[in-house]
Every structure is written in structure tokens, then in C-alpha cells.
Amino acid sequence: MSWQQDTALATLSLSQASGAVTARIDRFRRFIPPLVIILLWQAGSSAGFIPARSIASPATIIVTFWSLLASGELLQHLLVSLGRVTAGLVIGVSTGTVLALVAGLSRRGEDLVDATMQMLRTLPFLALVPLFILWFGIGETPKIALVALGSAFPIYLTLFAGIRSVDAKLVEAASVFGLSQSELVRQVILPGALPSALVGFRYSLGTAWLSLVIGEQINASSGIGYLVMTARDFLRTDIIFVGLIVYALLGLGADQLVRIIERSVLRWRPSFVKA
């Protein structure tokens, strides 16, 4: 029995000694599968197993990315796309916010607004693309309108629910301490609804990108979507991949932006307080 215990002890000390190293390997372990996939992909492309007209090689994509960046073409299209998303978001989020305030803060407002919004919400808004082309033509308007429409609903729904779920006891206490109706809204109800509204804002950003992708396929002459659509005509899968990467990075950046906003406006939350 004693030798068994000895081996057990030896294993234990070994694993303790290598603990720091294992932790470092653990951290990078998650990057191993994607790296392996990219290497296999590159090997397959180089060996001619993967035709470039279906999937460009990682090396080509990187080179194309760099040349598009260097020529300023990518930046130009990116700015156009960002401009569309920003314009659509400003219109959509502010409309959704105003409607949620009207519906959330008064019963009469709820009767007037909420039922209509709930009905429209069930409609897949991308199905409106043909109508938007008929109404707004094929310029900038239908693209921005699509982004605005897609991003209005998430913020409306979450802000409305957030306003209605503010703790009634807090509202009651604040009214005892002499807050007027407008102070009550500004100091109690809106801050209370903010966490939920920020979740909605994050959803709004998500649908905004989705709407942009669809919108930029409507006869665009600039923007990341245009870049991708033209690349398709010339079988340039490398450019299509660059477009996909840019969309992914934009989505990631938007999420990071909301995180930063949350960190500053919800800094009273214990999870942020301790951090």
C-alpha cells in the first residue's frame, strides 16, 4: 500500500509545480481550435483542394484586407455604412424611446400606443423591403428606414416593460419625501427602467446591423454591402470574406460600446461597484 501512496503524493506535487504553466496553457487552449482550422484551410487552399472561387485562402483574405485598407476604399465604404446605421439608430431608438415613455408613463398613452406596437412587432420587418423600395425608391432612404424600423421595437419593448416594473415601493417612498410628478419620473422611474432599456439598446444594435446588411443589398452604390455585392459579381470571395469580417468587428465594437455605457450609467450596481 505504501508505494501507492507515494505515487499519489508524487503526482500531487508534480501537478502543483506545473500549476502555473497549466493555467497559462488553459488560457490559450480556446484559441487552438480556430487556429488549427485556419491552418488546415490554408493548407487545403495551397494544395488546391479548396477552389478560390468558393472560398479564398486565409492568406489571400489578409492580403486583400490590407490592400483595401491601404487604398482607403474599405474606410470609405465603412464610413458610409456607419453613417447609415447611425442615422437609422438615432431615428429608431429615439422613436422607440418616445413611444415607450408615452405608453409607460400613462394609461391613456398605453391604450393609444401599446396595442399598435405589439401588433406591428409580430410582423417580420424585413418583409417590408419590397414596400420600402416602392415608397422610398432605391436611394439612402429605404436603407435608413429599415435600420430605424428594426431598431425601434427592441428599445420600445424593454423600456416599456422597464418602466412598468419599477418597484412601486420606491415610487411610494419617493412621493412621501415630496418629489413632484416630473421629479418622480426623472429621479425614480427612468433610472429604475434604465438597466432593462440598455438590454433593449443592445438588441436594437443587433437588429440595426442585420437591417443594414439587408438594406445595403438594395441597389447600393457604396457601403460594405455594396463592396460584398460587387465582389460576388466578380467571384471575389476574398473581398466577401473581408466584408464579413468587417461586419463581425462592427458588431463586436457596438457591443463593447454598450458595455462601456453600462459601466458608467449603472455604476451603482454591486457587480460594477466591486469591480
Binding site: A174, V176, F177, L179, V188, W268
Partner: protein
């Protein structure tokens, strides 16, 4: 003092060391207050006067309407029948602290206060409750006792003439509760607002109040002045006597649940029966 109020206090006049109660004006006057929530009347023609600076404890079984009475005085519940006169300078400390989590401690205390000195006043009130080190903290980082002391500071900073306490110590642990009771007692002696303390704890009422009421059947059923010297002690014979009386008025047998005590001398049929169940009978063995 109006005749009806004088008649009402036939039991006894609350004795106050500084100034006799009958020389002080009433800050609260309730006549014929009736309130129901669809069913039988919770409050049924209730009359009550609270003189300026008096510390009144209101006891009652759960569902007796003591919280309804407090909410009516706070202006949170309508008084459909009867007349209620209360000062406009009134504040409440609720059972839960009810602090706004997105405002720092001092901003919670200064809630609704205008003026440039709002922060100074809030800090002074926080100092009085021993929280000067948490002025800029977020409420969610406070302990239960600290949060309730903040709520107390928020009430104090308004310099109320009537302070309504709705079971403010009920959700605190025993040690914190004792400290808070001491704090409320000393703050009352320093500022002398009229206090209505709603509680279900007879000991708490006897420790703090100079008049104890028991609410039953929608009216003030018992109204006793507490003339014990301060600071009060649980073991004091007068304290024990009053405790027994109030518990009896609340319909509680003082020895009920006290397993170390001998069976009470007075006849208690229900208790004897339950004891019979608890002890295994020899026949069954």
C-alpha cells in the same frame, strides 16, 4: 383640547417630564376614521390624538389595521370616512429601507430637498445616525442596519413634526435591532418630534414609548401611559407587569411557547389539552 379628545383619554394622561401632554397641542387628530378593503371594516370609527413630541407605540395583531392607520397618516392611503388632521412636516421610515439604489447615500437622504445646503444637511443627518463614513457609498453596498440608519437620516433631515415608523426594525438581526432602538430613542430625545411607532414587539414598545396603544376591532382598544424611568430595563418589575398586560390585550398568553416555564396558575383548557397530546400516554406504551 376638545371635549371628545379629553373624554377619549379617560384611561390616563400620558405623563411627559418636560411638559405635561395636555399643555401641548395635538399634531395628530383623528375622528371616526373608517376604512375597509371590500370586506369588514379594518378601521371602524377610530379616534386618536397625538400631542406634539409624544412617543406613541401602536401594537396590534397582524391584520389589525395598524399599518393601514400609519399609511393613512402618511397620506398614502385615502381616508374615505372620518377626519384626519396631520402636520405637513411628516415623514416615514418603512420596514424596508426603500433607498434608491442609483443614488449615493447622501443623495438618498437629500431626496426632494432643494437648496445649496442640501448636501451639508444630509451629511449632518448621516453623522447623527453614525454613518458619516458612508456618505458617498452606493446603497447596495450597505448592510441592513446601515441601510435602515440611512432611511432614518432621510426622515430626520426633514425636521418632521410627526415621524411615522412602520415596523422599522422588523427585518434587522437582534443585535442591530437593539442598537437601532437605542438610536431612535436618543434621536427622539434630541429632536422631539411626535412619533408613531407601529410594531408587533411589546418589548420594543415598552422600551421606547411614553404611551402604548393596542389596536383591535378597528379601534384603539388599549391606551396606556408608560411612566417607567429611562433608560428602561427588561427585568424591571413595572416593565414585566406592563408587558403581561399588553400581551393579554393582544390575546397572547405570556407563557405560551415558553417551554421552561411552569404551567400557568390560571386555568387554560386549550393548553392542558395540547400538553396531553405531547406526553405519550402510558396506555399506549
Amino acid at each position: 383640547m376638545p371635549l371628545s379628545a379629553a373624554l377619549h383619554r379617560t384611561t390616563a394622561e400620558p405623563v411627559e417630564a418636560a411638559r405635561p401632554a395636555h399643555e401641548r397641542p395635538d399634531v395628530v387628530r383623528i375622528r371616526g376614521l373608517t376604512r375597509s378593503f371590500g370586506g369588514p371594516n379594518i378601521l371602524d370609527g377610530l379616534d386618536l390624538d397625538i400631542p406634539d413630541g409624544a412617543f406613541v407605540a401602536l401594537l396590534g395583531r397582524s391584520g389589525s389595521g395598524k399599518s393601514t392607520l400609519l399609511r393613512t397618516l402618511a397620506g398614502l392611503d385615502p381616508a374615505p370616512a372620518g377626519t384626519v388632521t396631520v402636520p405637513s412636516e411628516r415623514t416615514v421610515v418603512f420596514q424596508e429601507p426603500r433607498l434608491l439604489p442609483w443614488k449615493s447615500v447622501w443623495r438618498n437622504v437629500a431626496l426632494g430637498l432643494g437648496g445649496r445646503d442640501a448636501r451639508d444637511r444630509a451629511v449632518a443627518a448621516l453623522q447623527e445616525v453614525g454613518l458619516s463614513h458612508r456618505v458617498d457609498a452606493w446603497p447596495l453596498t450597505l448592510s441592513g442596519g446601515e441601510a435602515q440608519r440611512t432611511a432614518l437620516a432621510r426622515a430626520l433631515v426633514r425636521e418632521p413634526r410627526l415621524l411615522l415608523l412602520d415596523e422599522p426594525f422588523a427585518s434587522l438581526d437582534a443585535l442591530t435591532r437593539m442598537k437601532m432602538q437605542g438610536l431612535v430613542g436618543s434621536l427622539w430625545q434630541a429632536h422631539r418630534p411626535a412619533v408613531l411607532l407601529v410594531t408587533h414587539d411589546v418589548d420594543e414598545a415598552l422600551l421606547l414609548a411614553d404611551r402604548v396603544l393596542v389596536l383591535a376591532d378597528g379601534r384603539i382598544a388599549t391606551d396606556i401611559p408608560i411612566t417607567l424611568d429611562r433608560p428602561r430595563r427588561h427585568g424591571d418589575p413595572g416593565f414585566i407587569r406592563l408587558r403581561a398586560k399588553l400581551l393579554a390585550d393582544l390575546g397572547v398568553d405570556e407563557f405560551e411557547g415558553d417551554f421552561t416555564a411552569q404551567a400557568p396558575a390560571r386555568p387554560a383548557a386549550g393548553r392542558a389539552a395540547s400538553a396531553g397530546v405531547a406526553v405519550p400516554s402510558p396506555a399506549g406504551a
